[in-house]
Symmetry: C2
Subunit: 373 residues, 2 copies
Amino acid sequence: MSSSSTGSRGETVPTVPSAAGVADDVDDVDGVDISGVLDRGRTLATPVLRAAVDRLAPPMDTVAAYHFGWIDAEGRPSAGDGGKAVRPALALLSAEAAGAAPEVGIPGAVAVELVHNFSLLHDDLMDGDEQRRHRDTVWKVHGPAQAILVGDALFALANEILLELGTVEAGRATRRLTTASRKLIDGQAQDISYEHRERVTVEECLEMEGNKTGALLACAVSIGAVLGGADERTADALERYGYHLGLAFQAVDDLLGIWGDPEATGKQTWSDLRQRKKSLPVVAALSAEGEAAERLGELLAADAKSSDFENFSEEEFAARAALIEEAGGRDWTAQEARRQHTIAVEALDSVDMPEKVRRQLVALADFVVVRKR
Amino acid sequence: MSSSSTGSRGETVPTVPSAAGVADDVDDVDGVDISGVLDRGRTLATPVLRAAVDRLAPPMDTVAAYHFGWIDAEGRPSAGDGGKAVRPALALLSAEAAGAAPEVGIPGAVAVELVHNFSLLHDDLMDGDEQRRHRDTVWKVHGPAQAILVGDALFALANEILLELGTVEAGRATRRLTTASRKLIDGQAQDISYEHRERVTVEECLEMEGNKTGALLACAVSIGAVLGGADERTADALERYGYHLGLAFQAVDDLLGIWGDPEATGKQTWSDLRQRKKSLPVVAALSAEGEAAERLGELLAADAKSSDFENFSEEEFAARAALIEEAGGRDWTAQEARRQHTIAVEALDSVDMPEKVRRQLVALADFVVVRKR
């Protein structure tokens, strides 16, 4: 690995090789209106998601509504920040990829969002994370028991939403969702166990990120097709696209977690370093040869034992980030994002789908790696 | 309600009217070898359950094995106490009720056990319970994060076990399991919210117990039949049997929770009173008219505020138990167990099943209300 030639923090998210001319403006990627694609997913899925959450018995409905950002801690309606909504957009495109109407993908979009949010509720509690989407997490506001309980309820609701369709396709879709959920849980188990280890290999890190991020994106982009009657081969190819899209997404997330602009990400500077996260740039840097990697290894080992870590200055984190960059962790991760992006886009070649849908899926992949937040 | 004419603690579990001549020896109820029925369920389901749990990634497999009692806290093999195993026995009988081989019910038995244990793992953590089946609970031994994570994994595994059968029947079975899981979660939500309330009605208590105990027993006794190709009407009738069996079971549990023999139940004396549980006898007594009910209400209201409750003597709990009995809470609950038992057994009339299977289901219902632990 060579040292990075990239510029100052926040300006170095990887350029997508296939997307010459892609501007910083993510509203238009490859001539596709990305905001429009994401908005459609959000607009079609959210009312059905809200109706599903409304089925929960009190007080679980209220706790869930708080988690989704529909109400504040006092129960007052709130505009909310539902996130980027990549998954619902993928589920609708997935249905269209199988030649079905986008609406066919809606129950899939809702089920995937429910599973995603079940895992957020439980992970935040397990990890002791106090903030999510600029607000206190559910366990902070409503207590650990409600975080566990409402997470469980959303998980059950996800299966209910699909199975009540009562079709053979719904059974197949639920099976894929269950497989993805198991991987999500495996990934969280790995994440927890890696925290207690001094060294994690790049392969272990990629496997964990594939489980935590890839599996559910893979499910999102196959579930609509399955509901639309696609065969297993088509669904598998779409899953491959989604899985590697997830890995590209996570690699970019790991870059933003260290070098992201706090104003864009809404996170603290050096966020992942403050949390001692063994993310890809860190793991890749530690596995490199040379002086920078060695010094980084010594520093992080000392940090792990330091009682003063909480009070580290900006400069101390900046020094660690510089070493990660010098050891090649930043470049390697940017290259990995491009590599995963390429595999994802290539997976689409084996699926016979409307050209417009393919262009949107490619543009979404490009968007995922050029985003700054 | 009249005051109770029953004798000393531990001797007064309700007698089943239809089961004249039922002895204390539960090995033989109505000429049916109950131990044999339960053993068959345990013997056929346990290896498949263990193989399912073995699929979990480390360390979740070990944590789950500890929970099930297959290993001790140090990881050494352990004989374990898997409980009464009523649910697996019901799932196999359920398959036979639909004219299928008992083995057809095995995936259903395993899925139901997985959901049951998912709920135990999470409930013990939410309730802060430190002991289960005479051992430290998972969150005490392996920490809260593992209790959440392994609970999630068992829940996902339950659906996986069914859906990988890949049949239409498996889809229907998963849907019933999902409905039962949602009720289980609703029941826990009610249980938690009732803890913070001074008064709970008998109806609310029965609804909560129906959700927490009835729904999964209902699923156990219908899931084998569904896997065996039974129609919805048959499955619904079997569910009715299971639901009311669950309510009978819980009513007896509530009696044993106050007046059970500690040597038989493995619990402390006055166990439910020590936990301030708003169980059926308490709720029924409080809703009665008369001096005893009034005095009980005053005492329990004072107890709720008492800082000395932890140090209460045997005599103080005995005095509360006596008031519950005097107000009619004990008699009412025993009668409720018999009433639910009757509804359960009557539900079997609408199902055309082999006479041997019917006799075993009736005997299991009788067993549930005459048991002493």
